[in-house]
């Protein structure tokens, strides 16, 4: 048998390559089982419901860390940008009572706002740039700064650090560009649960800070009409 293989190099080649492939396949298969990473799906689901403003008003460095903290037992009412709609959606997901917003972390405003820098008063100190979690402020040291409206989530974080108080939070007027579909709010019965998650997906496709748009869209479009 061994003589036969040695005399027919094609067989030894086949056996060698096949053996190597089988060996590596076995090692990789073993590794796939041994080093399997269990993602925490609940954190992803919670993260999908949060508004992704990354504003840090909850005391966590961003929405994902807060989602992780909620999964570990943190209260779900620390998200002012999300407001009651987010709290209700989270309560629905986690099957707990929906508490009201913890005012310690800030107030929820129904009107979407963006920051606006009064540019002739700006001294170019870059403090608001460092504060902005979304990198929505443009500018350099000793040059005027300005806000990229599309990127701004209206989280307020730049207002406080400004030494000359030249940042205003102005409400966004509903026009053809900013109007959103009047989608049902996310705090429905469990029957609507699948629908609710789709709603959030669509809303977050429309722009950042979107989870609260579903609740807000109701009264804004009401006003617009």
């Amino acid at each position: 048998m061994i003589d036969f293989i040695l005399q027919n190099p094609i067989f030894s080649a086949l056996i060698a390559l096949g053996g190597l492939s089988a060996l590596f396949g076995a090692v990789l298969g073993f590794a796939a089982v041994k080093f399997k990473v269990e993602g925490d799906p609940i954190v992803d689901q919670i993260d999908a419901l949060l508004p992704q403003t990354q504003c840090g008003q909850c005391g966590h460095p961003g929405c994902r860390p807060y989602a992780q903290a909620i999964a570990d037992g943190d209260p779900i009412n620390k998200c002012p940008p999300g407001g009651q709609a987010t709290i209700n959606a989270l309560a629905d997901l986690l099957d707990v009572e929906a508490p009201s917003l913890d005012s310690e972390h800030g107030e929820h405003s129904d009107v979407k706002k963006v920051a606006f820098i009064r540019e002739d008063e700006c001294i170019g100190c870059t403090k608001c740039i460092q504060a902005c979690p979304m990198d929505a402020i443009l500018g350099a040291a000793k040059h005027m700064h300005t806000v990229i409206v599309d990127e701004c989530t209206g989280c307020d974080l730049c207002v406080e650090p400004c030494p000359v108080d030249c940042i205003d939070m102005i409400p966004v007027q509903t026009d053809l560009k900013t109007w959103k579909w009047d989608l049902p709010a996310t705090n429905q019965k469990p029957v609507f649960h699948v629908v609710a998650s789709e709603v959030n997906l669509i809303a977050s496709d429309l722009g950042r800070g979107a989870a609260f748009d579903t609740a807000k869209a109701t009264d804004e479009t009401g006003k617009a009409a």
Binding site: S12, A13, A16, L20, F24, V27, A31, K36
Partner: protein, 196 residues
């Protein structure tokens, strides 16, 4: 095999026979991933890790499987198999044990499978008939050289991106010219050490 000979191999692969600038291997990631310093550092780290491991594994496969059976002509395909398996294994292992490093290296880890410097180091090892320690050192040194040049080059390209480059030279062309000048500069290391 003395310590000084290993040190000479290391110095020779890092500076004199640099894989990228003297042997022109691994040019694809060299041009492709050098736009940002951060990603270059990620790529450099991942390549160093994989190249060292791959040169060890390919040496073992060559010595214990291919050579005894007289199958040296299968080296290329066997080495590709080994490298692909090593890269995949490292990816899985890293994802489990060090998620932070895994996130930093990210997409660059699987990209290394098709990095010709990794295959190059394996084939050069067999051509130069290195023993186990020499192979390991050659792979590690080559990877260090690749990492160093990639990081240096990406730092230069970050500055080139904001420099006032004449319009015809903008983008990739000035990158190529810079790479050429770097290769010229590395010629200066020629004769620093000589491998017997």
């Amino acid at each position: 095999m003395s310590f000084s000979e290993l040190a000479i191999i290391l110095l020779s692969t890092v500076l004199v026979n640099n894989f990228v600038l003297a042997q022109f291997l691994g040019l694809c990631p060299f041009m492709g991933v050098s736009n940002k310093l951060e990603s270059a550092i990620g790529m450099a780290g991942a390549t160093t890790f994989v190249m060292t491991l791959a040169s060890i594994c390919t040496y073992l496969v060559d010595t214990w499987v291919l050579s005894p059976l007289g199958l040296q002509y299968l080296r290329t395909i066997a080495f590709i198999l080994v490298i692909a398996a090593v890269v995949q294994f490292v990816k899985m292992f890293m994802e489990k044990t060090s998620p932070l490093l895994y996130r930093v290296l990210g997409v660059f880890l699987p990209l290394i499978t098709v990095n010709c410097a990794v295959l190059g180091v394996a084939i050069l090892n067999t051509q130069k008939a290195h023993n186990f320690f020499e192979s390991t050192m050659y792979g590690f040194g080559g990877a260090l050289g690749f990492a160093m040049v990639l990081v240096l080059f990406s730092a230069m390209r970050e500055r080139l991106a904001v420099a006032d480059v004449p319009a015809p030279f903008k983008g990739a062309s000035i990158g190529m010219i810079t790479a050429g000048l770097m290769a010229l500069a590395f010629l200066g290391f020629g004769g620093l050490v000589s491998l017997q």
